[in-house]
């Protein structure tokens, strides 16, 4: 009788612990702080055109749109219009795949009236085809510049796969690149705020 009870207890324990064991959602973005940001809180930022180093067509645009949306939705940060950034890029004759100089970053910051400028490079973006499911993979590097000085403040690297979020069997799997981009963006933004970036008004 006691043995049977014990067996049920261990079975329950196994089921309870299985999601924690099987999922790998603890991976945090790799953040490198180069300079200390002294501003009170971040109210407006500009996103430079992301650079695509992967083979996923338009992957930079997908990630840029998703990241801008999540930054606005999660943190309430105002994102400078993409059209304004493009206009200044044309004026300063900066090619889309080119990084602006420090002076050009200062011009962008002043003209757009932003506190931070964020630039992203997609290093890996693909959808691995499995037997039944599609496993999206995304890796990116983000640089955060101080808009006043043009100096690099933070650099963040993050890599995620859809299968990282598996809880048990196929539950929890992230099956689309858009959804993975969204979750990755959320994790980066949360990490930034955990590391000292303050949302507007706080």
């Amino acid at each position: 009788m006691n043995f049977t009870r014990c067996r049920y207890f261990f079975l329950f324990l196994l089921i309870a612990l299985l999601p924690g064991v099987s999922s790998c959602t603890s991976a945090k973005p790799l953040l490198e702080k180069k300079n200390v940001y002294e501003e009170e809180s971040i109210c407006k930022v500009a996103l430079l055109p992301f650079i695509n180093s992967s083979r996923f067509e338009q992957g930079n645009l997908v990630m840029q749109r998703v990241f801008a949306a999540e930054l606005s939705r999660l943190a309430g940060i105002e994102i400078s219009s993409e059209g304004d950034v493009q206009n200044i890029y044309q004026e300063l004759r900066i090619f889309p795949n080119q990084l602006p100089s420090i002076e050009q970053l200062r011009v962008l910051g002043s003209r757009l009236d932003v506190q931070l400028i964020i630039n992203g490079r997609i290093t890996e973006m693909e959808e691995k085809i499995g037997d039944i499911y599609v496993n999206p993979v995304l890796a990116l590097t983000l640089q955060v510049y101080d808009a006043k000085s043009g100096k690099t403040m933070w650099t963040t690297y993050h890599r995620r796969e859809g299968s990282d979020y598996r809880k048990v069997m196929h539950f929890g799997l992230v099956n689309t690149m858009t959804q993975l981009s969204r979750i990755t963006s959320d994790e980066i933004i949360e990490e930034w705020f955990a590391e000292g970036m303050k949302p507007c008004g706080k």
């Binding site: 749109r65 994102i79 599609v134 196929h170 099956n175």
Partner: protein, 491 residues
């Protein structure tokens, strides 16, 4: 009484709710990134319009939106510049703009759809709502697989509904005060000499309801302000002379408003350059009598003393008469090395002689520097001078060169006419006497000589003398030089 109160409250609530949603939204054509950078998805655009209309929101007709885009030459989907956002309010009367981007749309291997929706308020160009979502066939599973989506068409309503679920209940039409937009700015030139003209022009857009601008100034350096002249409505320009002081000058646009507030926009820097580029020429030739001599190809390397970016450069090679033999010019930085093949513009070999290499460079401020270097082209081989004289017991053959260019190497081979080698000799100094023992008197074979010479530039020559004794005879035929008249001590 109680009934009346409830009816009044319900009426007020309905009125507030209806007034809150009495907004106009312009749904811009949805960008479809799965179709490439210029992809557009009108199906989704119509779907979103219908969804909003069902919510009781007034929607600007698609043809009006497309006409607006055409009028304003808007070539991209998914976003607008701030000026255009304000213009949507003025031209289309829309309180909000809904931008949509299809981030992914694929049928295989599993049907999947991703979308980003963004709602922007036209009064202050602020994003008021945004939502991202992606759904795959694998994400939607129903009991016994009943009504499970099979294609993108089935996923579209699922995803749209999922995103629009968080649509704000109340949309505030009035936002913050609209900001002044600097539409364009141009600072030229960015690299100047002292006294050169520098100009700056800007175009600003003060949106309706924003502060009235009373003064438009240009701040140059730390405390130098210039009044900008309005050359067209909202377009300003100013010219000034660059100062003598070398260095970078920051330029900012200062807008002073009637309220006393000032807005400062950093336009850029311009650099005053007072120095010409400093460089010299390194030529790979052999030094002969104060000239660098070469015979075939001449590598020319510019050597910087203080490197700096260039706007353009030119290099040409001319002879003493000023006739240009070769030349090249280009914009941008200098090549690391030039090579002159000793040819004229028509491709033929240039004559031996002195030439001048002239390199002229201009830096970004148009400061010019000219560097020259004289070289000596000698592509013809040395001319051997062979004389023979009869000595006591031998034939003395004297070798020399008629050229001014020193000889690097010479060799002489004396042989009989049937090929038997009598003597071989070689060396590097000229003139030289080679002593050849007389052949026996019974030997009737002719003595031949083959002389090779190479000068220090690499020019080579080989000369064959069929009968050395003939040289002696020639010498004999010549009148003897006059004997020295003065007394010479004899040892």
């Amino acid at each position: 009484m109680k009934k009346l109160l409830i009816i009044t409250l319900l009426t007020i609530t309905t009125l507030i709710a209806s007034s809150a949603q009495a907004v106009t939204v312009a749904v811009f054509p949805v960008e479809d990134l799965s179709e490439g950078r210029n992809g557009v998805n009108f199906t989704l655009t119509d779907f979103l319009q219908q969804n909003l209309q069902e919510k009781g929101i007034e929607v600007v007709p698609t043809d009006q939106v497309i006409s607006f885009m055409s009028r304003n030459r808007i070539r991209w989907l998914g976003f607008l510049g701030t000026s255009h956002i304000y213009q949507v309010l003025d031209d289309l009367g829309a309180d909000f703009i809904l931008f949509g981007t299809v981030s992914q749309r694929q049928e295989l291997p599993l049907a999947a759809l991703g979308m980003v929706l963004t709602l922007v308020r036209t009064s202050d160009a602020r994003t008021v709502w945004t939502e991202v979502g992606g759904v795959s066939k694998a994400d939607v599973s129903n009991f016994l697989a009943i009504d499970e989506p099979e294609s993108i068409d089935d996923l579209l309503p699922v995803l749209s509904q999922q995103l629009l679920n968080s649509w704000p209940d109340v949309l505030e039409v009035t936002g913050r005060n609209p900001c002044i937009v600097v539409e364009t700015s141009r600072l030229s030139a960015q690299h100047v000499k002292p006294g050169d003209e520098v100009s700056c022009s800007v175009k600003i857009r003060p949106p309706a309801g924003s502060e009235t601008i009373s003064q438009v100034l240009l701040k140059i350096g730390e405390d130098n302000y210039l009044d900008m002249v309005e050359i067209a409505p909202n377009s300003y320009s100013v010219f000034w002379a660059a100062p003598d002081l070398e260095g970078s000058q920051p330029v900012s646009l200062v807008l002073r408003c009637q309220s006393g507030r000032s807005f400062v926009f950093f336009i850029g820097n311009y650099q005053v350059d007072t120095h010409s580029p400093k460089l010299s020429l390194k030529v790979a030739g052999k030094k002969v009598d104060n000239f660098l001599a070469f015979n075939d190809k001449l590598p020319i390397t510019p050597v910087w003393q203080d490197p700096e970016p260039l706007s353009r450069w030119s290099l040409f090679i001319q002879n003493i008469g000023g006739q240009v033999m070769a030349g090249t010019e280009n914009k941008g930085s200098l090549p690391k090395r030039f090579v002159w093949k000793g040819q004229r513009p028509d491709g033929r070999k240039a004559d031996d002689g002195i030439y001048e290499i002239v390199l002229k460079v201009w830096d970004r401020a148009n400061n010019a520097t000219v560097t020259t270097q004289k070289v000596y082209l000698k592509s013809n081989p040395p001319i051997p001078l062979i004389n023979a004289a009869v000595g006591d017991e031998s034939l003395i053959v004297t070798l020399d060169s008629e050229d001014a260019i020193p000889v690097d190497y010479w060799s002489a081979e004396i042989l009989y006419s049937d090929g038997e080698v009598l003597l071989q000799s070689q060396g590097s100094d000229l003139p030289v006497d080679i002593l050849i023992p007389f052949p026996s008197s019974s030997d009737s074979r002719k003595l031949e000589g083959i002389v090779c010479m190479k000068d220090i530039l690499g020019n080579k020559v080989q000369k064959k003398v069929d009968n050395l004794m003939q040289l002696v005879n020639i010498e004999d035929d010549k009148p003897e030089p006059p004997k020295q008249q003065e007394w010479v001590p004899e040892f």
